[in-house]
Amino acid sequence: MATLAELCIAAVAEAFRTDRELVGTGIGPIPRLGVGLAKLTHSPGLMMTDGEAFLVEQPVPLGPRSYDDRKPAGYLPFSRFFDSAVWSGRRHAMVTPTQVDRFGQTNLSALGGTHAQPKTQMLGARGFPGNGIYHANSMFIPAHGPRVFVTGEVDRISSPGYNPARRIAGGNYSAIDLRRIVTNLCVMDFGGPDNAIRVVSLHPGATFDEVQAATGFPLIDAVAGETPLPSAEQLDIIAALDPHGIRHTVLPENPPAQRSTP
């Protein structure tokens, strides 16, 4: 019986389906396992790093292992990363921002207060501004709620989205490419009018109304069905990439993919 985390991993893999050769970066266990699953099934052109500086053709399993398990096939240190992957557009990243708004603008920098004195300082913008303007991006949100999917705009815009009010004349925004948002409740995309966010599949047992209630802005109901359960083959691959079961710790109480009826 698949868990919700495993269902999310399969949904992440689907978001990374591609016939291009590009770097797939999944930050965090579920996005990383999803990229690995995509690479080992339908999208062998995906490139992955060992989490450090080397490109690997066999995705690196999560957690402790023999260092020699890693077999570098290529080299992608930071000094090449922006040149080769980000600013060339040859990358698709999945990240977990702290806030997301209806335009797909995200925040990883700070919450509340002022720029001079934020109420809560977080990481900083990291690579979000460049990622957002240059290559495809998706998101994984493990706790779908209105504190993440905020009403109005995010407190600080760390990565650009589809907000026309934030565009300056003459700028090139053509590479902004927001793909999918996988959450613990559903899969969403940006396929509505003016890139409005739509719910495209619900995880088994979730309802559109429940998703809408957990979201601070209106969603478009484009639900085509339930998010597919991972196949036995997919589950085997996921288990091999996560031998210590780190995926089981991501979602509270590690719920099953199929909710039990109350």
């Binding site: 600013w87 990481l123 913008a125 690579g127 600080r156 565009r167 700028g171 925004y173």
Partner: protein, 294 residues
Amino acid sequence: MAALDKRMTAAGIVGRLRSGMTLGIGGWGPRRKPMALVREILRSDLTDLTIVSYGGPDVGMLCAAGKVKKLVFAFVSMDAIPLEPWFRKSREAGAIEVLELDEGMFQWGLKAAAFQLPFLPTRVGLGTDLIELGGLRTVQSPYDDGEVMVAMPALKLDAALIHVQRCDHRGNVQALGPDTYYDEWFAKAATECFVSAEELVPAMEDAYPEDARANLFERCFVTGVTEARGGAHPTSLPPSYGWDMGWMKRYAAAAKDPGDWSAVSAQFVGASEAEYLASVGGIEAVGALPLPIF
């Protein structure tokens, strides 16, 4: 012609620095930070510094000690402890000015400085709050496309601090490990670059000629060198040693309890580098720190 014997003491290097300077610090988060030199700054009366760093505990400690006037950063993190607690305290107290950048535009600013240009154009920052909050300006392509881009200003450094495995007295450096981040651009963006090394050898061509490809930047960019064994601790220096997770946990916990840097600074800085190294178990203990697995 400048003297080619660039050997200095750590205190001598810090003695060359002045309050109010802009200092670049190499490394990345909890990796390859020139912590022995940072500790020497923490032992000095330098203040009012502008720090340019892909920040880790270097930034947190300098902020906690009140050394920082302004921070130029894209993140401050200890990786396994994602949010650097002492940096957060400074920010949430409104104690420091910041220029928040994207990781890529940050290196672009170093490259502009290295190439002696006032700025380099980029799309990075468009559609985000970085431009307005950072006072960044735009520039229009003079060609037919007419594209409007962000003009990333040069991040000109008064001095850069870098830690490597080896150097010689002339400033030839070798940095091993899979990644050296943007250390070469810190060196080239700076008026003066000071390097600490695990090992100071008499002549690199005699000691390690087979590792010449580990030379990150040419010795003309090096002003001073000093030997500092364990000089990156508590950050990692692959393949020599990993980061010190126990240290980072104690340091993070101290930000909550007692929460006052002056009460704990001796524990994390030491009165001297020798005392500091002894307090963390000596160079043998540092050398035994396992490399992190990702």
